[in-house]
Structures are given as C-alpha cells and as structure tokens.
C-alpha cells in the first residue's frame, strides 16, 4: 500500500463518526407520513354518535382542520385529550377518527372527558386507518382547506408539540383560506 492509501481507513472512520454523531437523538421509528402533500383519502363511514349518518371528506366542508386518531384503549390519548379540548374551545376545528374501537365505549369516553370533535368518524375495522397509514393511536393530521394533508404527528399533541409543529402552519393555512 502506498503512503496515501494508508489514510483511507482513517478518512472513512472520520466520515462514519460524523454520520453517527448526527444520528444521535434522531428517533428511527418517527416515520414521516407518505401522504403529506396528498389529498385526504376518500372514505364513507358512519359517524360515531349518529350511526345513520354517513360521513366523508365532503363533511370537511373546505375548512382547515385537524383529524385526530383516538381510541378508548389508547392510554396516551387520555393525556392528550385536555389539550384537544382547549384547542377546540379556541376555535380549532378537530374531527375525530375513532380507530378500532367499540361504539358504546367510545361514546361514553367522550361523555366523560369532553368532546372536542366537530364529528367523529367510526372506523371499527381500521380501513380508513390503513388508507391513512395509521400504525398506532394517537395520531394527528393537519388538513388544509383544499383537503390536502399538510402535516402528521404520531404521538401525543400537547401544548409544546402544538406550538412547535402545528400552530404556525395552522395559522398560515387559515389565513390563506380566509384570503380567498
């Protein structure tokens, strides 16, 4: 081996070290949604409280809104719920997606803890969940006035997360919608 090739292992080691350093702190299971920039998937499911009522993307009604995936079996959802209630009070439109749950249990749950949702989609078999790429509750999607998904969060949305990830984008989308 000549003089310079002897330095190749060292150089590779430095490069690798740099990559490893920058990878620390990144969560390998924090998946980006495949649907960011795509329209919210079409669906035709029953509403949670009114089984006779069929809901679909038409019910989004050109609003900027959050779609929140929740279930009674999901512990983290209980932690998230108070903040969602407070957001709803502030005028943020939230649509619930009750994921793989029992209708009665879900209705009681909301009765107990407050219902921030304009309406709740009842998806007992998780069909809309699969179309959205849901893999666990809670998850929250930000949808713009044209029905395009703009952001997804897997995990609890509390005040910190809202301020960090959602608030500015939400405000921007609302302003754009109002401008039209």
């Amino acid at each position: 081996m000549n003089r310079l090739t002897l330095f190749i292992p060292f150089a590779l080691c430095l490069a690798l070290g740099a990559f490893l350093f920058f990878s620390l702190g990144k969560d390998p299971l924090d998946l980006p949604s495949a649907l960011v920039g795509e329209p919210f998937p079409e669906f035709a499911l029953e509403e949670l409280h009114e089984p006779e009522r069929q809901v679909s993307t038409d019910d989004f009604d050109g609003q900027v809104l959050l779609v929140n995936v929740w279930a009674t079996w999901c512990f983290a959802c209980r932690i998230e719920h108070p903040w969602l209630n407070s957001l709803a009070k502030d005028g943020v439109v939230i649509v619930g997606l009750n994921y793989k749950d029992h209708r009665k249990l879900a209705q009681d749950w909301l009765q107990e803890r407050g219902d921030p949702y304009q309406f709740s989609i009842f998806d007992p078999r998780g069909v809309l969940g699969i179309d959205l790429g849901v893999y666990g509750a809670p998850e929250t999607y930000l949808v713009d006035a044209q029905g395009i998904i703009r952001h997804r969060r897997v995990g609890v949305v509390d005040e910190r997360v809202w301020n960090g990830e959602f608030r500015d984008l939400y405000q921007q989308l609302v302003d754009e919608a109002n401008a039209e």
Partner: protein
Amino acid sequence: MQSNSRPGLGLLKQVGLFLLLLSSSAVAVEDVVSFSDESLRPRYQQLLEELRCPKCQNQNLADSNSAISQDLRAEVQRLLEQDLSDAEIKEYLKNRYSEFILYRPEVNSATWFLWAAPVVLVVLGGLIVLRLSRRKKTDGTEETPIAVRSTDQQQRLDELLNRSKQGSE
C-alpha cells in the same frame, strides 16, 4: 342411515360412517388463513417476509403479533384475492406507509449507493487481485528462507538432499 332394516349391514354402515368421520377430521382442519386459490399462499408468505411492521422493533409482518401487523396481513390477503401483483401490493402499501414498510429498498436516487457499493467493492477487489497476480512473477532465485515449505515439499526436499548426499559420497 338404514340401521334398523338389516342390523348386520346397518352396523357396518354405521362403523363405516364413523371411520369416515374420523379420517375426515384431518380434512376438517382448516388453515388459519384461507385462500380461494392455494397458489396465492407462497406469494402471501413471501410478501409478509418482505414487508416491515411499521411500529415494531424491526420485525416483518410474518413474525409480528402487533395489531397493525394483523390488520396489514389481512390487507395483503385481501389485495392478493383482488388479483394485484406483488409489485402492485407493495406500491399500495408504500403509498400509505412510506418506503419504510419495504424491507427490500427500492432502487432509486436515494438508494443507488446502497445497491451499487457492494458490487463496486467486489469488482474493485477482484481487479486488485488480478493486477497483483499478473504483476508478480516468480523469479528463479530462491531468496526466501526454507521455512515456507509445505509438508510434502519438505519431504521431497529431504529426499533430494539425502539422495545428493549419497551421490556425493
């Protein structure tokens, strides 16, 4: 069953039916997952091994017991029954769960290095071996010490030395 008209034959028929029921219990055992066409099953198995459970700690859909894996297995089965090809099924799931769900990374601008590097390495290594093997030639003079003989060459050397010793005496 005509067990009352002729007791002997009737009994035989009863026993026969009983035996038939016994043996058919092997047929009555059904697969947990059933397909309208059995040829779908190997494709199903193969796909489950190539798809990743989105929320597990590195498991494929075949091995994972999580709720989402069960749902996705059912989905794969449904799509197979709908006559989609393997590639279409993977595309369908990739559109919903991102490329993360594919254990076999696609070949695109983000993964060209991943797929090319091993090939380049082997080819490069092969070229080095070739170049070294052509460049170096054995020279007639033995400069290296005797230590490098293998067992049988050592023996032949001994024999030759012995013979030459005898010859010189």
